[in-house]
């Protein structure tokens, strides 16, 4: 190995994240990292595609979502919680720390497959039952299952689990390898209940937003990476160690009734969503990121953006109702030859009850889009803060050392 191939992690954290952020216009990335680590990376790894694993926050939230994701929902195998969870997160944190940096995991049976991480991130979440079972500080997270919404047609197969492993990657091959390494290490301790795989289109707008399978520009309203607004909306602040620096995620599987949507003409589709299909701009004009004017009237005196349109209902009514959206599309072929299609709606907020639930209540109460979309899965998780080298994610909550 030559000296030039030895790149300190601090160095590639900076170059890697900068390059990653640069791939999306206007997305400055502020992933904070503890430095002073000189772990070498393998020759051949492209530092521009590496996202730091260690840091104040877990990776996989404040970075542009790459093209592919797999959300893995797991339930602990036995009745015990703390001990198996500690052992599980010890193993998985080490796996993630290596795989995301282009290194094989320990006991990796296909070590070469880890060489090019392609912006791989692995993020761990704890469900409400686990937090309650841990008690003490963990219960202070305050995460609880979402209330029932009238539009929900939830299927248990996509329901709440004890744990979430979120994997995101620009390369589906790398993602598959990482997913297998991770799930193999969970086998004796937990059981995979579901895997929800998703993909993103685009970016199709200057802001880097992609489309969903209904053809809409989806995920427009977001805080900028590295911004104060992002920190305010997403990262839990002013909380005990083990909680501060974490966040919460809601993952909802929204089936799209595309055969029914096919029957809606273009005007009807834009009326339903309140945005132009072409570029995601509000029907009141401008471009994608311009404010939505819910008061504008057309020449007949009717609102340009219908009060029951999706954008009108989902748009925040108070500053507290803002959060990060990082949705992925999905398709699932059924045995009968038809295809379930939809959106893996993944949203991140410091306080889901305060930030997300009011918006979802409003949508459930009235939203033209509800004719064509059906929530069939829903789960919430606390994503603990990041960890330092030698620690595992969730260590402050679980106690013990790696």
């Amino acid at each position: 190995m030559t000296d030039t191939s030895r790149v300190g992690r601090r160095h590639f954290v900076q170059t890697g994240v900068a390059a990653l952020g640069g791939a999306v216009v206007g997305a400055g990335v502020g992933h904070q990292v503890w430095g002073a680590d000189t772990t070498a990376i393998r020759p051949g790894a492209d530092t521009s595609d590496i996202v730091a694993f260690y840091g104040i926050h877990q990776a996989g939230v404040e970075t542009p979502p790459p093209a592919y994701a797999a959300f893995v929902g797991l339930d602990l195998a036995g009745r015990m919680v703390r001990d198996p969870l500690r052992r599980l997160l010890t193993l998985l944190s080490d796996d993630a720390a290596r795989l995301t940096q282009g290194q094989a995991a320990l006991a990796d049976t296909e070590p070469e497959s880890a060489a090019l991480p392609q912006a791989l991130t692995v993020t761990f979440g704890l469900g409400p039952r686990v937090l309650r079972a841990l008690g003490g500080q963990a219960a202070d997270v305050g995460l609880r299952e979402l209330p029932a919404f009238s539009v929900d047609r939830l299927q248990d197969r996509w329901g709440q689990t004890d744990l979430l492993v979120q994997l995101r990657c620009a390369d589906p091959f790398v993602l598959a390898h990482a997913r297998r390494v991770i799930t193999k290490d969970t086998r004796s301790l937990a059981r995979v209940r579901w895997v929800q795989e998703g993909f993103r289109g685009g970016p199709v707008t200057p802001a880097g937003t992609g489309r969903n399978l209904m053809g809409q520009v989806d995920g427009t309203v977001n805080p900028g990476f590295g911004s104060a607004a992002f920190a305010r909306q997403v990262w839990i602040d002013d909380a005990p160690a083990g909680i501060e620096g974490g966040t919460c995620v809601v993952l909802r599987r929204i089936e799209m009734l595309l055969d029914r949507w096919d029957k809606v003409d273009r005007a009807g589709r834009e009326f339903t969503i309140g945005r132009r299909l072409a570029d995601g701009a509000p029907l009141t004009g401008g471009s994608e990121l311009d404010p939505v004017d819910l008061t504008a009237k057309d020449k007949y005196g009717f609102p340009v953006i219908d009060q029951a349109s999706h954008v009108a209902r989902a748009h925040h009514r108070t500053p507290a109702e803002k959060f990060l959206r990082a949705p992925y599309n999905y398709t699932l072929d059924r045995p009968d030859g038809t295809t379930e299609a939809g959106l893996l709606f993944a949203a991140y907020a410091a306080d889901l009850d305060r930030q997300f639930v009011p918006v979802q209540r409003r949508i459930a109460a009235e939203d033209r889009l509800n004719l064509w979309v059906v929530p069939i899965g829903s789960a919430v998780y606390f994503l603990p803060p990041g960890c330092r080298e030698g620690e595992f994610v969730g260590q402050s909550l679980l106690g013990g050392s790696r």
Binding site: T38, T90, A107, D185, S188
Partner: protein, 192 residues
């Protein structure tokens, strides 16, 4: 002496193609091509260096409920002098041996204590991996569960010791068949 064997099939497969050799070396006990002689390409270790200048990196132990298991990793000699690992100990096992995997002359790979231990020339790294040289736990004192941590100590020929911790990982490769001499009833050391 206990003799560990595996089928000839894996060896034949290993001869098929270089690409397949990897599969064999990680999935079966006994690929003599995988030397562990310290001449393999190595990463620069980032672990702490003991006074002896010998560091162990990327160590792990295969999970097992009872009986035997193996410890693996990379031992790097950062000192100016050649050293030999002459023995290993751990509270997790009643007996710990330094093992090698060799062809017994008939094409059958056998696992046996390595005479003289693991020699590591100055500046070189010695790789312990499934299917090749490894540290053998002959009889674990309790179940080694995935995510547990096992402490080990290496003893060097110069009298120094090297302590290190290794996480326990589930691993289904290297399914050595345990065949005591003169017995036809193989046991199993698969992990849970």
């Amino acid at each position: 002496m206990h003799v560990f064997t595996r089928t000839r099939l894996a060896r034949r497969v290993g001869a098929l193609a270089a690409a397949l050799a990897l599969v064999v070396s990680v999935s079966a006990c006994g690929n003599t091509d995988s030397t562990g002689d310290g001449d393999k390409a190595t990463d620069t270790p980032s672990g702490s260096t003991t006074e002896s200048g010998v560091v162990v990196k990327d160590a792990w132990v295969k999970a097992v409920k009872s009986g035997m298991t193996g410890a693996f990793g990379e031992i790097t000699n950062n000192s100016d002098a050649d050293v030999t690992v002459v023995s290993a100990t751990s509270d997790a096992a009643k007996m710990v041996e330094l093992h090698e995997v060799v062809d017994d002359g008939s094409g059958t790979m056998v696992m046996q204590p390595k005479k003289g231990g693991f020699p590591i020339p100055a500046g070189e790294t010695y790789t312990l991996e499934p299917g090749a040289d490894h540290i053998m736990f002959m009889d674990v004192t309790k179940a080694l569960k995935p995510g547990d941590t096992v402490s080990l100590t290496l003893k060097l020929d110069n009298g120094d010791t090297v302590k290190f911790d290794a996480p326990v990982k589930p691993f289904t490769g290297a399914q050595e068949n345990y065949q005591p001499s003169g017995s036809m009833s193989p046991g199993d050391m698969s992990s849970e």
